[in-house]
Symmetry: C2
């Protein structure tokens, strides 16, 4: 199986790889060719050509393209789900849900660009007359994540946002699910043809080694990068992109430990329930969510909470991780924590080739002395941090690195007493959850899936929700343009009927 | 004269410098101490402390602070204007206008944050309930520009935007106008005290060498940098900031040659008028605007336009530049262009210590072979690029680097025939001007003063106009927050009466 460059299948290279079925513990039969430097160049050049056409395609037609992708994905039926399951070890039901999320995201962006107000049109009628709107950046290089083979992969949120904005996409498939990637990319190719989009609006490249992505990242015709994955991978792309002759933005979502704070009265009132819910959140999807609660913090008196957790964790099922490499990293992450002084609170009993959910424990002093204890261990483990006073709890919160999410469980009295905690966490995370759990990221207009470094770079973006589109845009200002040269979004008559900031006031006229 | 760190004057260092009066060609008497590493650290730490308070100050009070700064600047009266003139060589009338622009900017932000809709509140009432708004980034390091000692300096657009957003500011004064900087910083200090702002919301640091700025840029408690100045200076800050352990955004406005395209019919119909207007724009402020037209392009048949320019340039007055170093760089920039094959079309006669406006000429082939011909020469010179065909003109436009502005002069027939030029330039510039000149940047809601690299980094920001505030913000999402913990912007009752995206629809309820 080969790259999809526009409408062309291309397999020029010699380096091949196969995916691994982690459930069956066997290599899958299909062989994939890694993209060559020439193929990467071809894909970006074709995307750059396509951009000159695609950026002018009216929003209604771009929306139809997104809708056609959604329809095509659904039409793949069981083949997509079973393929993704074989390549990821994820259960069928979970993947069916993820498919619906993926098509839902595409339709959210389709609806939004059809309506049109998202371009943030601003018009100041004066001398000179100036009019601003968001325009697409150009060719985007998007990197698929392993843990959501549909929703954060080929036709996932980044691709949907970039295509909605008017950018063209060169997609670097994650090597753990190349066949799934191929199936979805082929849907996008067909949808592009069926809705009259220019060839090259989307291309798919395979690569098992880091150099495919690096070669893509340095291409002079690339305008932006989106990535979801490890800190190491994201940081490498960030370093490459910021050192180019012409630097480009990198929107990397690099992970997070998503601290959960349990406050005293909540623990007292419903410690056992919270423990059960926490274990549920921790082990959901074998802990392979970006928003998995990898750290939790309690005050001095925990009540029955910790005992319930300890009993509960021993009874949790082991689970199949996405790849053998991820399982290995999980186990070695736990070992590193123990070597660094964390105590094993409890773990599910071991099963071959499966991840055992585990709880570890340190106290706040240990973390304040050694912040690397709070580095992410991807998988179903969580580190308990005990604190001895409210002041220490605040100091610990203040010492945390940037996070995608931060969560507080508390009664009203708790929350009023610990109001400062909300203030501290607002500086640390992109999303703050009260009396809930961080796993589960709603796809809507208000969601933020991003946060201060090292959660993402830059913190001003979100990779989930409709605001994700702004990562692929910049504003342009038209000064003293005659009516016939203005885009419809900025014409006096407001032919699209969109909301605009007209002389400083929101208006639909 | 010393640093202003919060309410404290501090002069710990031994390194001193003085400003130079470029009109009188003499050093000014006041001696300024460069900030020491300890003073830089003090200022940022105090700003970080102040941020914990300032970020909670209601918008109405932040607005009162901005208003008080504006009032204070006006109250400085002639002292400010004469001081700025002595330190910059800029005429009094120009500085009076710049002062009004500066106070106008402060008031624009004050009005905007008083109204409140700028926070882009987004509310999705569902399960979970998620609510998003923009929050301030933290401590910002802002670098003053030499060419606008008021409007892009201590209380200029960057400071106004950052303070409006809720960020605290450590300001690195430009060494060419330290006394002007001191006067304005003192106004901000007084305004902060008068309106009850926390000490350290603003501090002023002096430094004549590059290391002051570099030490500021690496401070771990700094959250963002804004800079207006040379490509070299901005690039150095960008490199420093992106290589920190925790990278921070740099909003650097690094200059531009602001190409002006003259199309055939416009040249034929009013070539002489355009020539006169062009010379006006070129020499305004001795060519020391970021938006100065440093390059202009004509089609094969120029008519009387070039002859008029040639005659006109010889008659233009010479002018006093901001500093001897800038004058030297201007003269050496012209020499470099000539050595690289540019022909001198004409120049004003030389005057000692003054810049002579000059026109140089190359053809498109020379530029396509050697793009560095289009690097900025800061001052009143412009490079004429002759093209031999429409295709060559498009090719040339396509080869341009990123720009703050791009301008087209054409009749309706020209503009329809050259519609592709608008398309090309949209990818090159933050602002496109039709039948005008790029100098003169309106301060309003729709302005974009930014553009693709190397004009600015990143291209998604603007340093002029109300949208400049978003550079100093990031979104945060509140999930399932009880009413008593929500900020007013996100409460159900909408107590501030702001525009919000409520379940996907703009609404004031």
């Amino acid at each position: 199986m080969n790259q999809i460059i526009g409408n062309r299948l291309s397999g020029e290279g010699n380096r091949t790889f196969r995916a691994f079925d982690p459930q069956k513990q066997q290599w899958l039969p299909l062989e994939f060719k890694e993209a060559t430097p020439g193929e990467i160049d071809d894909a970006v050049k074709l995307a750059a050509q396509a951009f000159t056409v695609y950026k002018k395609v009216p929003a209604q037609q771009r929306a139809a393209f997104l809708e056609a992708i959604a329809t095509g994905i659904t039409a793949l039926g069981d083949e997509l789900i079973t393929t993704a399951s074989a390549e990821s070890g994820l259960p069928l039901a979970r993947l069916q849900g993820e498919r619906d999320r993926t098509t839902g995201q595409l339709r959210l962006f389709a609806t939004m660009i059809s309506e049109g107000s998202w371009v943030n049109a601003r018009i100041d009628k004066a001398t000179p007359d100036v009019r601003q709107m968001q325009i697409p950046l150009g060719v985007t290089g998007i990197f698929g994540a392993s843990n959501f083979p549909l929703a954060f992969s080929v036709a996932g949120g980044d691709t949907a946002a970039a295509l909605a904005a008017g950018c063209t996409v060169v997609f670097k498939a994650h090597p753990a699910h190349p066949h799934t990637s191929y199936l979805v990319a082929n849907v996008i190719r067909t949808a592009a043809n069926d809705t009259g989009m220019p060839e090259g609006v989307f291309s798919l490249l395979h690569g098992a080694a880091i150099d495919t992505g690096q070669q893509l990242a340095v291409h002079p015709q690339l305008s932006a990068i989106a990535f979801t994955g490890s800190f190491r991978g994201g940081k490498a792309l960030y370093d490459t992109a910021t050192r180019r002759a012409v630097p480009i933005p990198v929107y990397a979502e690099m992970g997070s430990v998503n601290p959960v704070f349990f406050l005293p009265r909540a623990l007292k009132e419903k410690g056992e329930t919270l423990a059960a819910q926490f274990l549920q959140s921790l082990t959901m999807g074998v802990g392979q969510f970006c928003t998995n609660p990898g750290v939790f913090i309690t005050p001095a008196e925990e009540g029955p909470f910790l005992n319930t957790l300890q009993k509960g964790i021993a009874a949790m099922p082991t689970g199949c991780m996405l790849t053998p490499g991820i399982l290995e990293a999980y186990n070695s992450g736990i070992n590193s924590l123990r070597q660094a002084g964390a105590r094993l609170l409890g773990a599910a009993s071991a099963t071959a080739h499966q991840a055992s959910p585990a709880l570890l424990q340190v106290n706040a002093t240990q973390v304040l002395d050694n912040p690397s204890l709070c580095h992410e261990v991807f998988g179903p483990s969580s580190l308990h941090i005990s604190t001895s006073s409210k002041e220490e709890l605040f100091r610990l919160a203040d010492a945390l690195e940037g996070q995608l999410t931060a969560t507080i469980h508390g009664t009203e009295e708790d929350l009023r007493e610990y109001a400062e905690l909300v203030n501290i966490l607002r500086e640390k995370a992109g999303r703050i959850v009260i009396n809930g759990f961080p796993t589960g990221v709603a796809v809507n207009h208000a969601m933020v899936h991003g946060g201060p470094w090292p959660a993402t770079t830059p913190a001003a973006g979100t990779s989930v929700g409709s605001a994700a589109i702004y990562r692929f845009c910049r504003p342009v200002c038209y000064q003293d343009f005659p009516a016939y040269l203005l885009p419809p979004e900025l014409q006096d008559e407001n032919p699209l009927g969109i909301w605009r900031l007209l002389n400083g006031n929101f208006s639909k006229t």
